[in-house]
C-alpha cells in the first residue's frame, strides 16, 4: 500500500471533493466523445472506459501530482507533462484546468510555492502539477496527491456520463466503488515513482498513454455543438 498519512486526511477530502471549485464540472475526460462514438452505452462500458483511463492517463497524472507533492521542481514536471501529452487539445485542457485549480488552491491553501508557480505559468501549468503543489501546500504527501489525481481520472467521466446518458447515478457510483482497489494500486505505483523524481529526475515518471483518448480529444475539440469542454 502507498504511504498516505492517515492523520492528515481531512485536506485530501476537501481537495478531492467533486464540489471543489476548480472547473472540472465542464469537462468529461473524453467520455462525451466516447458516448457519441457508441463506445459507452451503459455502466459496463463506463467501467471499461474508466479502467482504461485510470491505468493510462490516470497513472501518468497521478505520478506527476505525486512528484510535485514530494517537492520536485514543478516547472520541470510541467515540461514532463507536456512531453507525456501528445494531443494539443489535451495540453490546452490540462493548462486551462491547471489555471482554474490554481485560483481555488491559492484561496484555500495560500502558499509561496503556489504563488511562484502561478507567476511562472500565468496561463496555467498542467493540472496534475498544480494539483501536486496544492497537495503539498495543504500538508499532504505524494500518496495523497496521487490518490486525488487518480480519483479525478475516473470521477470526472462517471459524473459526465450520468448527464450524457441519463445513466442511473447509483450504477455510476458502483463503477467507481468497484474500481477502488485498482485506484489503490495505481496511486501506490504513482506515489513511488513520484517520490523517486526528487532524487532521480523526471525520466522515472511513467508515460502511459491512451492513443484513442488523444485522437478523440482532437476530434471533440472541433465539434461545434457539445455539452462538455473536453
Amino acid at each position: 500500500m502507498t504511504t498516505v498519512d492517515a492523520t492528515a486526511l481531512a485536506s485530501l477530502l476537501v481537495l478531492a471533493d467533486g464540489r471543489f471549485p476548480a472547473g472540472g464540472h465542464a469537462h468529461s475526460g473524453g467520455a462525451e466523445a466516447a458516448v457519441a462514438a457508441g463506445r459507452i452505452r451503459d455502466a459496463a462500458d463506463l467501467e471499461e472506459f474508466c479502467r482504461g483511463r485510470l491505468h493510462t492517463a490516470g497513472l501518468t497524472a497521478a505520478a506527476l501530482a505525486a512528484a510535485a507533492a514530494a517537492g520536485a521542481d514543478p516547472l520541470l514536471l510541467d515540461e514532463a507533462a507536456d512531453a507525456r501529452t501528445p494531443s494539443p487539445a489535451l495540453r490546452a485542457t490540462a493548462r486551462r484546468l491547471g489555471r482554474q485549480l490554481m485560483r481555488a488552491a491559492r484561496a484555500a491553501w495560500p502558499s509561496p510555492a503556489l504563488d511562484a508557480l502561478a507567476a511562472a505559468r500565468p496561463r496555467g501549468a498542467h493540472q496534475p502539477v498544480v494539483l501536486g503543489v496544492t497537495a503539498r501546500a495543504a500538508g499532504l504527501g505524494a500518496g495523497a496527491a496521487a490518490y486525488a489525481a487518480g480519483y479525478e481520472a475516473i470521477g470526472g467521466p462517471a459524473t459526465a456520463v450520468v448527464r450524457l446518458l441519463g445513466l442511473d447515478p447509483f450504477e455510476a457510483t458502483g463503477v467507481l466503488a468497484r474500481l477502488a482497489p485498482e485506484l489503490d494500486a495505481v496511486a501506490s505505483r504513482a506515489a513511488v515513482a513520484g517520490e523517486r523524481v526528487v532524487e532521480e529526475g523526471a525520466d522515472v515518471l511513467p508515460a502511459a498513454s491512451a492513443p484513442l483518448l488523444d485522437v478523440m480529444a482532437e476530434v471533440h475539440g472541433g465539434w461545434a455543438v457539445r455539452l462538455f469542454a473536453s
Binding site: 464540489r19 471549485p21 476548480a22 472547473g23 472540472g24 464540472h25 465542464a26 469537462h27 468529461s28 486551462r96 489555471r99 482554474q100 485549480l101 485560483r103 481555488a104 491559492r106 484561496a107 495560500p110 459526465a160 448527464r163 461545434a224 455543438v225 457539445r226 455539452l227 462538455f228 469542454a229
Partner: protein, 231 residues
Amino acid sequence: MHLDHSTTPYPHRHTHSATPALRPNGKRRALRIGLGGPVGTGKTATVAALCRALRDDLSIAVVTNDIYTREDAEFLLRNAVLPPERITAVETGACPHTAIRDDISANLEAIEDLEETIEDPLDLILVESGGDNLTATFSKGLVDAQIFVIDVAGGDDIPRKGGPGITGADLLVVNKTDLAPYVGVDLDGMARDAKAQRGDLPVAFTSLAAEGGVAPVRDWVRERLAAWRRT
C-alpha cells in the same frame, strides 16, 4: 491573495460584491453585471440592446455561458453589437448555474483574459447565464450586481412563485410586455406580486421589440456604474 474578504458579515445592499476592486496591475477593474433567467425570456436580446445603447460611451465586454453551444456568443457576433474580441463564450458542462454560482473559475478566467487583452480599460462586463431555472443566481464572487430576466409569455404567476432570482436579483426585468394582451397576462398583477416578493428592489417592464425598449435597464446600469465609480 485574490479573495479580499469583506469584514462586514452583512454588506449593505449596494456594496459591490465581486472582489477585489483593483486588478493586479493596480488599475480599477470593470463593473461586472450578471444576467440570468429562464430560457427564451430575452437575456441575449437584453445584452445586445444594452451594448448598442451604451457602447458609444463605455468600453464594454460580454461573457456568455451557453448550455451546449456557442449560440448566444454567435448571436452577439452576428449582430455585431461589439467587436469579436470583446465577446467570450464559457463552456459550462451542461450546467450553467454551476458555472455562474458554484464553480466560477472559468468565468473569472474569461473576465481576466478580457481585461488583459482589451486595450482601452473596460468599464463594464456583462456576464450572461445560459437559460436556466428560477433558482439560478450568480455568485457574489463573480458579479457586483445581477439582473434576472423573465417574460410575460412565461405566465403571470412567475413573480408570485418567487425563487432566489425573482426575490433577490438587484433588478428584475419583465420582458415582452407587448405580448401581454395576446397571452392574457395582467401586468399590474405581476407588478404587485413582484413588489410583494422583492420589497424595495426595482422591477423594470420592458418590450425590447420597441425602439429604445431597453431604456429602463440601460438607466439602471448607468446608475450602478456611477455608484461603482464613487466607491
